[in-house]
């Protein structure tokens, strides 16, 4: 990996504790492939039980790639995207 690490953005890390619903959907990406982000930046949001859940970036780095595009349905624990960082 040429001295960089890759971190997955895991939907389980931001899952609302009280959600019971199986339906979930990526609503908005605020960054695109190749974007530089800081730790804590809001990078996307998804919908669970009609609530939009904001996903902060766990680390600083470069988004590459986005795995789940807008409108994609997914399950808890699926990876939204990867971030490469030094």
């Amino acid at each position: 990996m040429n001295g960089t690490d890759r971190v997955s953005i895991d939907t389980a890390d931001v899952w609302p504790e009280d959600a019971e619903d199986d339906e979930r959907l990526v609503v908005n990406w605020f960054v695109s492939k190749g974007s530089q982000v800081e730790a804590g930046n809001s990078i996307c949001e998804f919908q669970v039980e009609r609530v939009d859940v904001d996903v902060p970036s766990p680390v600083a780095g470069t988004i590459d790639p986005i795995v789940l595009e807008e409108n994609a349905a997914f399950e808890r624990g699926d990876t939204l995207a990867y971030i490469s960082h030094e």
Partner: protein, 335 residues
């Protein structure tokens, strides 16, 4: 759509609006926001998302369902020198409080011989396309633009929403800031592609009265605003070389940008989500006729026929202009 190198960050329209309000509120302790369900609920259309958390209920104020009282109170607070934003949850509710809006907010500066000013923003959600029927789906752009004394702003993208909101808050006169529900980027009201754009972190203003050419073209000029900017851009993919102009503000109105485009194309299509008669389409056309008649070969207008917005989906789809209606009108200018 590739994000430019300096715009790694994209935002929804609501996100951009909220960011500006937060920035301005941090800078000015005398700013506050009043509306129904704007505190604990973050605004029904995400117009205040997260603000109560930072500023508390004293500055992000839930108010009684008394539009006359809180909009009138905002007018007076503004005259006292504070910088309030009052939110009318749906623009359709304007009837309840119109006296305070058009007889106080809009007229006090003029009536007082400019001895008072009213530096406030009135925000309101507008627009249909989700079957919310006659009392929750109107645009009413023309109604506010018709009555003198208010600046009227309608953003169509996150980038524009940010610059226009900074300008609205800093303006010393009342600004009516109408945001289209379908453009906000709400999970349960999916937006078309387009309103979500790159947004710089730093503050910037977009002056009112500066229309934006959202697409350059040589054959036909399409003038529109709000949601219909995106429908016009979709229609522009149909083969004719269309120039799409986003007015961004109705008051003041950027006549020059439209005239310049019509000088080039000779053909004008005006598209509006408001009612057809005595409204935006008629006004835009008459401005161009008054000052550019010689350049004009053909004119079309696309708007809601003069009926209230019906509930049922096929009925609403029929009367709210879509990209096919715009394409038809573009073709009509050539026939």
């Amino acid at each position: 759509m590739a994000v430019p190198a300096d715009l790694d960050r994209t935002m929804t329209m609501s996100g951009a609006m909220v960011e500006v309000i937060a920035t301005e509120m941090r800078a000015d302790e005398e700013m506050f926001y009043m509306g129904e369900d704007v505190a604990d609920c973050d605004g029904i259309f995400d117009s205040t998302e997260g603000l109560r958390e930072e500023f508390g209920r004293d500055r992000i104020m839930d108010v009684p369902i008394s539009e006359t009282a809180y909009i009138g109170a905002a007018v007076s607070a503004a005259q006292e020198g504070m910088r309030p934003i009052a939110e009318l949850m749906f623009v359709d509710f304007f009837g309840v409080s119109m006296d305070q809006i058009y007889n106080q907010m809009a007229k006090n500066t003029y009536m007082s011989g400019a001895s008072v000013s009213v530096p406030m923003v009135l925000t309101a959600a507008v627009g249909g396309t989700y079957n919310d029927a006659a009392q929750h789906s109107q645009a009413l752009y023309g109604t506010f633009a018709h009555l003198p004394g208010m600046k009227v702003v309608v953003p169509s993208t996150a980038y524009d929403a940010k610059g226009l909101m900074h300008n609205a808050i800093r303006d010393d006169d009342p600004v009516v800031y109408l945001f289209h529900k379908r453009l906000m980027g709400i999970g349960w009201l999916p937006a078309p592609d387009g309103p979500k754009t790159g947004v710089p972190e730093e503050s910037y203003t977009i002056p009112f009265g500066s229309a934006d050419v959202k697409r350059e073209g040589a054959d036909v000029t399409v003038v529109t605003l709000g949601l219909h900017v995106h429908r016009a851009l979709e229609a522009a993919e149909d083969g004719v070389d269309v120039e799409v102009i986003d007015l961004r503000s109705l008051v003041p109105f950027d006549e020059e940008t439209v005239l310049e485009s019509v000088r080039k194309t000779g053909k004008l299509v005006v598209v509006d989500e408001d009612y057809r008669s005595f409204g935006v389409t008629g006004e835009v056309i008459s401005r161009i006729v008054e000052n550019g008649l010689g350049d004009l070969d053909s004119v079309e207008r696309v708007a809601v026929p003069d009926v209230p917005i019906p509930y049922s989906r096929p009925m609403e789809n029929e009367i709210v202009p879509d990209s096919d209606d715009i394409i038809d009108s573009i073709h009509n200018t050539n026939s």
